[in-house]
Amino acid sequence: MEDKEKKDIFDRIWNFLASVKLAVFVLITLALSSIIGTIVEQRAEPATNIKLLSKFFSDDTAPTVFNIFVKLGFMDMYHSWWFVSLLVLFSINLIVCSLERFPKTLRLVKSPLKPLSENAIKTLPVKKEVRVKTNLKTARDEVFNSLTAAKYNVSEATEENAVQLYSQKGRYTRLGVYIVHLSILLIFIGAIIGARFGFRGFLNLPEGDTSSVAYASGGKVFPLGFAVKCNWYNTKYYSEIDMPQEFQSELVIIDGGREVVKKTIEVNDPLTYKGITFYQSSYGMVPNAIGDFILRVAPAGGQEKELRLGTGESFEISGTNIKGTIVNFSPALTRDRNTGALTSYSENMVNPAVAIELDEPGKDKYVAWFLNRYPERGYLEDGSYIKFQDYWGVEYTGLQVAKDPGVGIIYFACIIMTLGLYAAFFMSHKKLWVRLTSEKGFVRIAIGGSASKNRLSLERDIEKMLSKASQAIEERHPEKK
């Protein structure tokens, strides 16, 4: 008696967890609660959200509401205990309902198809009947061929003066929905592995610097197990406008004292080494840094040379008597619209320019600006040129550093979810029964079928099969034409 009661309770809980009611509840609750986190800014400074709340509540009550929201976990909602619990409930529901339904579906898929009586065929959702002038054997063979050609799996039953071909295809598409459910669970598993064993941090690396650690958002140090060096960082602009075309850094991986990998990374093109990936994510100026001016100079028609100079340092273009001295730098040179004076319009290297005092034979000394983004303007009168390559060592590259051992599972889940969705929505389980009855020199072909979805496609299958078979039958009886 007691055992039975226990079993009842267990059954009840099991049925509740498998129920579509729970699925409906979880989906609605997830959808509604997710909205909160898109309005309240997540993991933000308290002031940001108090300001947001004061739009809806008075200035006095906003901080109180904010505190209530904090208690409810709204400020980091998607990681709060209740949201995670909802996701767990969602997973349990998914698992239990799949376990509950899968064996039934599998039985349906595995159970052999049986021949049907003529009356039963006539009651099927899709049906058609034709009479063909031929003998039973020919008709049977051609219908069989056309069904097989359409990838139907055909069985046969012989009756008196009649043959029945019963066939099906796509029965495994009924399992598509379980594959989709499984892939959702795999995504959760991948996410848990990533959260448990992965790392996500950042590294701001000045040009020329090397680091063997990255930092998590709380300032926690994460050892890489090797070293990464930034050779240079560069923002490439579309010509003539200040719109960035690409953010690039050249990174070098140093492992065991050797340079093992060198790659220029860009947004959408990161560098991965030993499971750790470096993403181009931001950039900036190193405060108070003094860098090197890298110039590429050549006499008219002569060999180009790369020079590395500091402010105040001089150089000579070989083969000419032209001397230059670096006198000034601007990270973003422009001419002031009102005064006409040269000025910088940004702290960042948007339009870097170097001023060089030139000393040419037979001329007074003069100062010229050389712009990094417009190297074609670097030609001097005699055909020699000075190109301003970079002011190196003053920028840093902002790298996102991530290690996620769960990503492989996520990608695998994406692939099988795609296949599962395709099977579940774009394919169907079709069954066809064809009964051929011999009637005095004619054969009556009665066809009936059903499909798990997309009846139109089954109707098309029948039309195709019939026309193919009747054409083949006609070809076999040329004398009767």
């Binding site: 959808a31 075309q245 990161p270 929505f425």
Partner: protein, 367 residues
Amino acid sequence: MSSSTFFGISELSYFIAMATYIGYIAFRKKAIGVTATTITIFGFLNQSIALLIRWVDSYYFWVASTPATTFIESILRAAPLRNLYESLVFFVWSLVLIHLIMEFKYKNRTMGAFTMPVAALALAFIDISGTSKEIQPLIPALQSNWLLFHVLLSFLGYAAFGVSFGTAAAYLVMVTDSRKEKSYIFWTIIIGVFLVILIAMGVDFFSLTSAQRDELIQSYFLKATFRSQSGSIVAVSWVTAAVFIFVIWRFGLGLKKILTSLSITPGMLDEITYKSIAIGFPLFTIGGLLMGAIWANSAWGKYWTWDPKETWSLITWFVYALYLHARFVAGWRGKRVAILAVIGFVAVIFTYLGVNLLLSGLHAYGG
């Protein structure tokens, strides 16, 4: 001819087609129906040419700034899907494509009267939102092979959802017959809010100086009405909106009379709603969510960040998943599932436009 000429022709064709489809269901003459389809196909071809020309123009634009990329890569980078304007145009194209496919597949012209208005609303949105129509350079985050496939599949999904919205709303109109019914109140409010926002955007558009129109739409969205600096304008806007919705509620039953006098049955509308969602759901899941996650992982190192755009697409996914399960497993029928289909598209619109207009996040480029 330039792409804008072809686009103008297609825009005009869609509006005429919408009127013709409505004429078709009103008079039930086959000739009118054939004309409606012909005009739609004509508009669609024009828009396809317009898109192609824009793509070719963008190709030369891209190659001029980046000569080093390969032919295939340049074509992918030149896909006209860079900003709000291009994505809206592409949405309309997808919607008409899905509509034509459904029309030929189900040999039923009546649904044109419900899907073409959605296309026309989107076109109206493009014009009154005053979004920039210039070909713009591609920002670094969008320079990925995923851009084309992610946007293409998501939008075909959105378009299929758009069709289901049109038919589900029409279904609700047809099956409600009392102003007190919850479903009736629901559809009148939803349609009312849609129209109010569209009209408010029109007010934005006409109250702006041409210099302001060059700014991002985010900076002036609803600023002339509901988000105005002046409190009295805000109050007047709300009152007007309430009155407007009340009028729709008061006279909405008339719409039912029109629909019932036509050869449309609620069963047919319900069937088309389901079929469109059955096409849209897998496309949106694969193209929007999965490809988006894979792309995010290769660009930012994280496949999911609970960014508002991501979260809203997940909310949309929850709603349509709910629709499918409610209908197939829980056995919901009729008004309840139609309401879900309508809510689903409201979530689509919020995912697509609302997030970009009202919230901030990583996905800030109008797509």
